[in-house]
C-alpha cells in the first residue's frame, strides 16, 4: 500500500487515493452531487475521476438520503461505493439511512450481508458559509453500533486512511474531512520526528499520531484533537511550549469510532492532565466520550479535572466576527491547557 508523499496536500492525497483505488478495483465507484469534470465536486476532491472512469462516477440529484441509500444497496451487491456528501451538514438528511439501514444491515441480517462503503463528508467552519454549511455534525452519528467514523488530520495520510476505510470489508465508514484542511500539507513522521517535533503513531488500521515538543520523556498536558482541530491544537501547544515552557502532547486519533484509547492513556501516564477539543459544540460529543472512557479506564491517571474545549452553544454565524467568537480558538486551548 503506497503512501502519499509528505509534501502532498490533503486534497491531493484524497484525490490520488480515489484515482488509485478506482484504477485498481473495478468495484469502486463514486456517488454524490456535482461530481463530474471539469467541476469535480464542490471542493474539487473528485477531480479527474469522471473523465477517467465515466461509468463509475455517478453524479446525483440533490437527494442525500437517497444516494447514500443507493450506495448501500450497491455495497450489498458487491460494489465498493464512495459517497461524497457536498457539505457535511447535509449528512443528517441521511441520518435514518445511517441509523436504521446501513449500520444495522450486517448484524440484523445475521451476518449474511456486509455494507462496505465510505461516506466522505467535509465538515467545519471558518470559511464564512453560515449556519447550515459550516457544522461539524459527526458527533450526532457517533455511537451507532455498526458504523465507523474516521477523521484524518494533517498528522495523517488522508489518502491512506481513505483506502483503509474502503478496504474494510465489514463496516460502513463515515469519513470526516475538513474543508480548511484540504489545502494543507500532510505532515508525516520520519525517524520519529516531524520537523522539530517528536512523533509517534499507533499501528492500527486507523493510527493515532501523537506529537510533542519533548522526546516523550515528560509532558504537562495531553491534548486530544481530531480533524481540523489538530492544527489549532498544535498551534496552542507550540505557544505554550515557547511562551510558558509547558509540554503539551497533541494526541490525534484518526478513528473516532471505534476509538483506540491506548495512546491517550499512554500520554496521560506522563501528563496526568487531559484536555479534549472539538470544533462542534460539546454536548454529548467526541470529547464527552473520550473523557468518559478515560474516567472509566484510566481514572487513576487523572491528576486534574479533564476539560473539554468546543464551540459555544450557538449555530455557526455567517459573519466572521461572530463565527470567531463561537468557534474554539487557539487562545481557548491555551487557556484550558494552563
Amino acid at each position: 500500500m503506497s503512501s502519499t508523499p509528505a509534501t502532498t496536500t490533503v486534497l491531493k492525497s484524497l484525490n490520488g487515493a480515489m484515482h488509485s483505488m478506482m484504477e485498481a478495483d473495478e468495484r469502486v465507484l463514486l456517488i454524490g452531487e456535482d461530481l463530474l469534470d471539469p467541476y469535480g465536486g464542490a471542493f474539487k476532491v473528485a477531480r479527474g475521476l469522471s473523465e477517467r472512469f465515466p461509468e463509475r462516477v455517478l453524479t446525483t440529484p440533490i437527494s442525500e438520503a437517497g444516494f447514500v441509500g443507493v450506495a448501500a444497496g450497491m455495497a450489498m451487491r458487491g460494489m465498493r461505493p464512495i459517497v461524497e456528501i457536498m457539505f457535511g451538514d447535509f449528512l443528517m438528511l441521511a441520518a435514518d439511512q445511517l441509523l436504521n439501514h446501513i449500520s444495522k444491515y450486517r448484524w440484523m441480517y445475521n451476518d449474511q450481508v456486509h455494507v462496505p462503503m465510505v461516506i466522505r463528508a467535509p465538515m467545519g467552519a471558518r470559511r464564512g458559509y453560515g449556519p447550515t454549511h459550516s457544522q461539524s455534525v459527526e458527533k450526532h452519528i457517533l455511537g451507532m453500533p455498526g458504523l465507523h467514523v474516521v477523521a484524518p488530520s494533517v498528522l495523517h495520510d488522508a489518502g491512506a486512511l481513505l483506502r483503509a476505510a474502503l478496504l474494510d470489508d465489514l463496516s460502513p465508514v463515515v469519513f470526516v474531512e475538513n474543508k480548511l484542511m484540504y489545502a494543507r500539507r500532510q505532515l508525516s513522521a520520519e525517524g520519529g520526528r516531524i520537523g522539530e517535533l517528536y512523533a509517534r503513531s499507533s499501528s492500527d488500521r486507523y493510527p493515532t499520531t501523537t506529537v510533542s515538543w519533548e522526546p516523550f520523556d515528560h509532558a504537562d498536558v495531553t491534548l486530544v484533537a481530531y480533524g481540523g482541530m489538530v492544527e489549532i491544537a498544535m498551534e496552542a501547544a507550540e505557544t505554550l511550549f515557547f511562551d510558558e515552557e509547558l509540554v503539551v502532547e497533541v494526541v490525534a486519533p484518526s478513528s473516532l469510532q471505534p476509538l483506540d484509547l491506548q495512546p491517550v492513556l499512554d500520554s496521560l501516564q506522563r501528563s496526568g492532565k487531559l484536555v479534549v477539543c472539538e470544533e462542534g459544540t460539546a454536548g454529548a460529543g467526541f470529547g464527552a466520550e473520550v473523557i468518559s472512557r478515560v474516567s472509566a479506564e484510566g481514572f487513576s491517571l487523572l491528576k486534574a479535572a479533564p476539560k473539554r474545549v468546543a464551540a459555544r452553544d450557538y449555530p455557526i454565524a455567517n459573519t466572521r466576527s461572530l463565527e470567531d467568537m463561537i468557534l474554539p480558538q487557539v487562545a481557548d486551548l491555551v487557556r484550558a491547557c494552563r
Binding site: 461509468e55 455517478l58 446525483t60 440529484p61 437527494s63 438520503a65 437517497g66 444516494f67 447514500v68 441509500g69 443507493v70 450506495a71 448501500a72 444497496g73 450497491m74 455495497a75 450489498m76 451487491r77 458487491g78 460494489m79 461505493p81 435514518d96 439511512q97 436504521n100 439501514h101 444495522k104 444491515y105 448484524w107 440484523m108 441480517y109 445475521n110 451476518d111 449474511q112 450481508v113
Partner: protein, 341 residues
C-alpha cells in the same frame, strides 16, 4: 407442490414453480393456502402467548405475492416490508425458518435477531422503516445492471408508504439511471388505522409517471390474472432494464398488526367476498382442495413443531451465526405422500 429446496433453486422461485408440473391454478392455490394457514396459526400462537412482540399479517393479499414472485429467477432481488410473510413464503418456501424466527429461535431466518420485519434470506430482504429501503433496493438493482447480471429487483410497498419522501428520491434515480426495478404498490386501502384518502393526495399511478417511470395498476384478487399481468411486466423490466411502477388494488382482511382493527365491518365484509382464496379454491375440485389443505396444514404444523424444538440464542450468538438448517425432512416425506404431477 413444493420441493425440498436445494442449492439449485433456493433463490429461484421461478425454477421451483416451473419444476412443479401441476396446473398453474393448483400451484397458485397451494402457495396462497400456505400463506393463509401459516398466518392463521401465527395469530393463534400469539393468542396463546407463545409468540411475543408483534406481527403484520398478509391475509387477503396472498394473490399479490404469488402473482409477482413466481416470475423471479435466480439472483433476482426482493425488498419487502413489515407485511412480508407472504412474500417470504413464496420466495423461500421455508415456513419453518420464518416460524422459528418469529418464535425467536437461533435457527430462524436471521437467528432471532430481526423478527419478520428484518429478515434476509438469499436475495430476499425486509426492513421495518416504511419506504427507507427504497434507495437500498434501487442501488441493488443498479449494481446488478452494472455487473450485467440480467437480474432485477422488486420492491413491495404499501399505499401508506407513498407518504415517505425518500421513496421519490429513489424513483427519480431509478428513472434517471434506468434501473431494472419493479415497484409493486400493494394498495390495501389502509395504512394502519388510516384510510388511503387521508394519507394520499392525487393518484398513485401518476406518482410513478411523474418520475418518468412506466406505471400501471390492476384491481384484482385473482391470482391467475395477477400472475399473467406481472409476467409481462417483469419480462419488460428485465429485457428493457428500466424501472416500472405497478399498483395492485387489494385489501387486507385482518388487523394491521396483532389486534388493531377499527375499520368499518361492512367494508371488510364487502371485500371478504372477493378474497383471493375463495376464488382460487373454486378452481379446484373439493377433493383436490382438501388434499392441498391437508398438506399445507401438515407443513405448518411441522414448522411449528420443529420451531418449538429449536434453541434460543445464547450469549455467543451475539457474535456468531448459526448455519442455516437443511430443509425440513418433513417436506421430503410430504412429497412422497403428496400427489405430485
Amino acid at each position: 407442490m413444493s420441493q425440498p429446496a436445494d442449492r439449485g433453486d433456493i433463490a429461484n422461485p421461478r425454477a421451483r414453480f416451473e419444476r412443479d408440473g401441476r396446473p398453474l391454478r393448483t400451484k397458485l392455490f397451494e402457495q396462497m393456502m400456505l400463506i393463509r394457514r401459516f398466518e392463521e396459526r401465527l395469530l393463534e400462537l400469539f393468542g396463546e402467548g407463545e409468540l411475543f412482540g408483534t406481527t403484520h399479517c398478509y391475509i387477503g393479499q396472498e394473490a399479490d405475492a404469488v402473482g409477482v414472485i413466481n416470475h423471479l429467477q435466480d439472483g433476482d432481488i426482493i425488498f419487502s416490508n413489515h407485511r412480508c410473510h407472504g412474500h417470504f413464503l413464496v420466495y423461500g418456501d421455508r415456513p419453518e425458518l420464518l416460524m422459528a424466527e418469529l418464535m425467536g429461535r437461533v435457527t430462524g431466518v436471521v437467528g432471532g435477531r430481526g423478527g419478520s420485519q428484518h429478515i434476509c434470506f438469499e436475495n430476499f430482504y425486509t426492513n421495518g422503516i416504511q419506504g427507507g429501503f427504497m434507495p437500498t433496493v434501487t442501488g441493488m438493482a443498479l449494481a446488478e445492471k452494472m455487473k450485467g447480471s440480467g437480474n432485477i429487483a422488486v420492491a413491495f410497498i404499501g399505499d401508506g408508504t407513498l407518504g415517505q419522501g425518500v421513496l421519490y428520491e429513489a424513483l427519480n434515480m431509478a428513472s434517471l439511471w434506468s434501473v431494472p426495478l419493479l415497484v409493486v404498490v400493494e394498495n390495501n386501502r389502509w395504512a394502519q388505522s388510516t384510510p388511503v384518502e387521508r394519507e394520499l393526495a392525487g393518484d398513485m399511478v401518476t406518482r410513478g409517471r411523474a418520475f418518468g417511470i412506466d406505471a400501471g395498476e390492476i384491481d384484482s384478487t385473482d391470482a391467475e390474472a395477477l400472475y399473467g399481468h406481472f409476467g409481462e411486466i417483469i419480462a419488460k423490466v428485465r429485457n428493457e432494464q428500466r424501472p416500472h411502477f405497478e399498483v395492485i388494488h387489494t385489501y387486507r382482511l385482518c388487523h394491521h398488526s396483532k389486534s388493531d382493527d377499527m375499520r368499518p365491518e361492512d367494508e371488510i365484509e364487502r371485500f371478504r367476498k372477493n378474497e383471493p382464496l375463495i376464488g382460487a379454491r373454486a378452481w379446484l375440485t373439493d377433493d383436490e382442495a382438501r388434499a392441498i389443505e391437508a398438506r399445507v396444514e401438515a407443513r405448518v404444523e411441522a414448522a411449528v413443531r420443529w420451531s418449538r424444538e429449536q434453541p434460543f440464542p445464547t450469549p455467543r450468538h451475539l457474535d456468531e451465526r448459526v448455519a442455516r438448517p437443511a430443509p425440513m425432512a418433513f417436506e421430503a416425506s410430504a412429497t412422497d405422500a403428496g400427489e405430485d404431477a
